[in-house]
């Protein structure tokens, strides 16, 4: 007689798996990738390709030859780290810079902790911050967006809006003067920024990705919304107190890595809290630290540091924040 399977309930499983979730995040990133290719041309393609290949390769080599465990590069998580790392670098970065970043991201930040699901810090951000402190000149060498057809012309370099603000303030200018001198407009900030990382180029593209992730239920809106609201709220307060010294909420939300970071980096499953209360505290923390670094810190931009600092609090948040339990305790 034919053998039947006997196993405990449930007998069905949702179609989602690690691979499909990672693939959904990649799809959500595709508008951003396309916009960056449109504006930065070959340099964006080169960075993303080198990022993906080197991250996957580093994971493969470590799993196959060093740890001698099952190779899990098929789950797309290493590839996703590669894309995210590329999107967090200046478009003019040389290929070897992202290679080093990948080795640090996968080799140090991910595999030393035990691979997927075990790491405390976001691998792509560890890679980026490592590069930022090791190669400060290259990492702040921002080329002004080049369109596809203008590729080949010598890249013109210029600082990011946040860097301009920081420098302007240091040289004694006020915010309105800096804005007037550099002609920032909201439209520019929404669609094309003046300079910045590969993936920060278009807020609209990032938000399209965010909506896709929400529709597919890959992430909950809690973390990105909390971060953006916190950044907006705190900068509103400072802006109202002294508009000459502090930039306003719209500028703070649309510049730097706030959108890229809150939608795609802070929501990284492995390194973010696992319940709503924790997510809110985590989001508020990232928002506060980001704005504080921007206003009072040495760096013009604070998102990467803010996320990494809050990553460290996640085990505590998971321990002390509990989801709403069903029903009261009876003694």
């Amino acid at each position: 007689m034919k053998k039947l399977i006997v196993s405990p309930a449930p007998h069905i499983h949702s179609k989602e798996n690690t691979k499909s979730l990672m693939r959904d995040v990649m799809i959500a990133l595709s508008p951003t990738v396309l916009v960056s290719i449109y504006f930065f041309g070959l340099s964006a393609i080169k960075l993303i390709l080198v990022g993906v290949i080197s991250c996957v390769l580093v994971e493969y080599l470590i799993q196959k030859y060093l740890l001698k465990t099952k190779v899990t590069i098929n789950d797309y998580s290493a590839a996703l780290t590669g894309v995210l790392l590329a999107l967090n670098l200046p478009p003019s970065s040389p290929w070897w810079l992202i290679l080093i970043g990948s080795i640090v991201a996968i080799g140090v930040a991910k595999m030393t902790f035990g691979g997927l699901g075990q790491n405390i810090f976001n691998p792509a951000l560890v890679g980026r911050v490592f590069l930022l402190v090791s190669f400060p000149a290259l990492m702040t060498d921002w080329s002004i967006p080049q369109s596809w057809f203008r590729e080949g012309i010598d890249a013109v370099t210029g600082p990011t809006p946040l860097a301009m603000v920081k420098e302007g303030l240091l040289s004694g200018q006020t915010i309105p003067e800096i804005f007037a001198a550099n002609s920032f407009t909201t439209k520019q900030m929404l669609f094309v920024k003046m300079g910045g990382s590969v993936g920060e180029i278009s807020a609209v593209a990032l938000v399209i990705g965010f909506i896709y992730l929400l529709i597919r239920r890959v992430i909950k809106p809690t973390i990105p919304v909390t971060i953006v609201c916190t950044v907006a709220l705190i900068s509103t307060v400072f802006y109202l107190v002294d508009p000459m010294q502090y930039t306003g909420p719209l500028f703070n939300v649309l510049t730097g890595g706030v959108l890229l970071g809150s939608i795609f980096m802070a929501t990284d499953y492995v390194t973010s809290p696992m319940n709503t209360k924790g997510m809110i505290i985590y989001g508020i923390g990232i928002g506060i630290i980001t704005v504080m670094i921007r206003y009072f810190g040495a760096y013009p931009e604070g998102m990467s540091f803010a996320i990494l600092i809050m990553n460290a609090t996640v085990p505590l948040l998971n321990k002390y924040c509990k989801p709403q339990r069903f029903g009261k305790e009876v003694k």
């Binding site: 405990p8 309930a9 449930p10 069905i12 509990k322 989801p323 069903f326």
Partner: protein, 444 residues
């Protein structure tokens, strides 16, 4: 539209048999009636080999407070009273009856007339339900008379009938609500009288529009019963979830529905109560869905208790070639059958056949801490954490602090886990250990 507030998942409902009438399944030549028809102590057989029995005659008596009567579902001669393997293969006392004709006990009213008057007192009703061997038909098969007789210090305020049928594939309750709505409502009135409550609700998931229409039409004559349409979300029919959805009250941790003044009964149970009280017919048959994408003739049957599974399969075109799993119940909480020669119980609601592709567990991979299990858990627990603590071993204090005992074993966590971690399998074992520790603790 009402629903429970915490967690839940949305599996495809696959109600393949929703439009098939309930067909009366023929009486076979032999019936194998288990004495373990209910939660609690199995009944004690009161017949011997050679005894003649009629349909509806008592063949097993309760063997404890939580136990119940078992009646013969056929007429004929007792061939054996012996241990036989149940669906999991464990030995259980069965009464085997060789069928001769179809002779029913005289007191059973077999006319199709609907009897609306309820000339009985609360005590008489509970006695009739006990004598009718009624058990909960929503899954756990808890003896109904025990549930209708709450402790003296607790007072019921509402009766809730569960017609949500949130398990995918199963359509037995949908069919009885469409085909016999008024009898179900009279059953509810009977139980309301027994409990001395003045308000009842029937919760039905929105994916059963015809059942909702039929029940609403029948309920026009019963203003004390309100039909409540619920969102399609699993586990809407979980007792605690259903109470939350309809009344907004939450049964306390380790508590029972009666602690918030509610008694929940399945619509199938209500129909059985009607038959027992108004028609003197004990629980000897129930509606059962036989379904699955690989089954050629998916159908709903009215089955006598004690029908062998294998014979039911024959009636739907035999065991399909590509069937890999045979499940008694739905795909979320049903039991995989190990012994295909076992027989139906009072609480049997469905048989589901699934192919290997539909049901195979996939290779487990690393937890990616996505928190989808936390989001899915309708009890607000953290399945990933319970899994970790269970696997670490010996972490019983922490497991208790994390309220593992609140797990209702609905399977949402395992269903949703993208890393295919067998969360519920592990949690179930840990929960059993923790419950044992709690039970063995000296009472204060």
């Amino acid at each position: 539209m009402k629903t429970f507030k915490i967690g839940g998942v949305h599996p495809n409902d696959n109600k393949l048999t929703a439009d098939s009438l309930i067909e009366v399944f023929p009486v076979l030549e032999t019936a194998y009636i288990s004495m373990a028809q209910h939660l609690g102590a199995p009944a004690k057989p009161v017949v011997e080999k050679g005894d003649k029995v009629k349909v509806g005659q008592v063949i097993g008596e309760p063997a404890g407070f939580i136990s119940g009567y078992v009646h013969s579902s056929v007429s004929g001669t007792v061939k054996a009273v012996e241990l036989m393997p149940d669906l999991a293969g464990n030995p259980v006392m069965h009464v085997v009856i060789e069928v001769e004709g179809d002779e029913w006990c005289e007191e059973i009213d077999r006319t199709p007339d609907i009897k609306r008057d309820i000339p009985y007192s609360s005590e008489e009703i509970i006695e009739k339900i006990k004598n009718g061997g009624i058990v909960g038909l929503g899954g756990a098969a808890f003896p109904t008379h025990v549930k209708l007789n709450p402790p003296k210090d607790k007072k019921a305020e509402f009766l809730i009938l569960n017609g949500s049928e949130c398990e995918p594939y199963v359509t037995a309750d949908d069919r009885i609500m469409r085909e016999r709505p008024e009898e179900i409502l009279i059953g509810a009135v009977i139980m309301m009288k027994a409990l001395n409550v003045t308000q009842a609700f029937v919760g039905i998931e929105v994916n059963k529009p015809q059942a909702i229409a039929a029940m609403k039409k029948a309920a026009a004559d019963y203003p004390q019963i309100k039909i409540v349409v619920l969102k399609k979300k699993y586990p809407q029919g979980g007792e605690k979830q259903l109470i939350d959805a309809i009344t907004g009250r939450r049964v306390p941790s380790m508590g029972l529905p009666i602690d918030v003044g509610v008694v929940v009964q399945n619509v199938g149970t209500s129909l059985a109560v009607y038959e027992a009280v108004q028609k003197n017919q004990p629980l000897i048959e129930s509606a059962v869905t036989v379904t699955g994408h690989c089954v050629t003739e998916q159908r709903n049957f009215l089955l006598r208790v004690g029908t062998p599974f294998s014979r039911i399969l024959d009636a739907v075109g035999g065991l399909p070639k590509d069937a890999a799993k045979f499940i008694s119940g739905g795909p979320m909480m049903g039991k995989a059958v190990a012994n295909i020669d076992a027989s139906t119980l009072k609480g049997t609601s469905a048989f589901l056949l699934m192919t290997e592709e539909e049901t195979k567990r996939k290779q487990e991979s690393n937890c990616i801490r996505c928190a989808k299990c936390v989001e899915a858990c309708p009890m607000g627990l953290e399945p990933y954490l319970l899994n970790k603590l269970c696997r670490a071993g010996n972490k019983y204090d922490e497991l208790e602090k994390e309220k593992i005992y609140d797990c209702i074993e609905c399977g949402c966590c395992l269903y949703t886990c993208p890393a295919n971690i067998p969360l519920l399998d592990i949690i179930r074992m840990g929960k059993a250990d923790v419950m044992k520790i709690i039970r063995n603790r000296p009472k204060k």
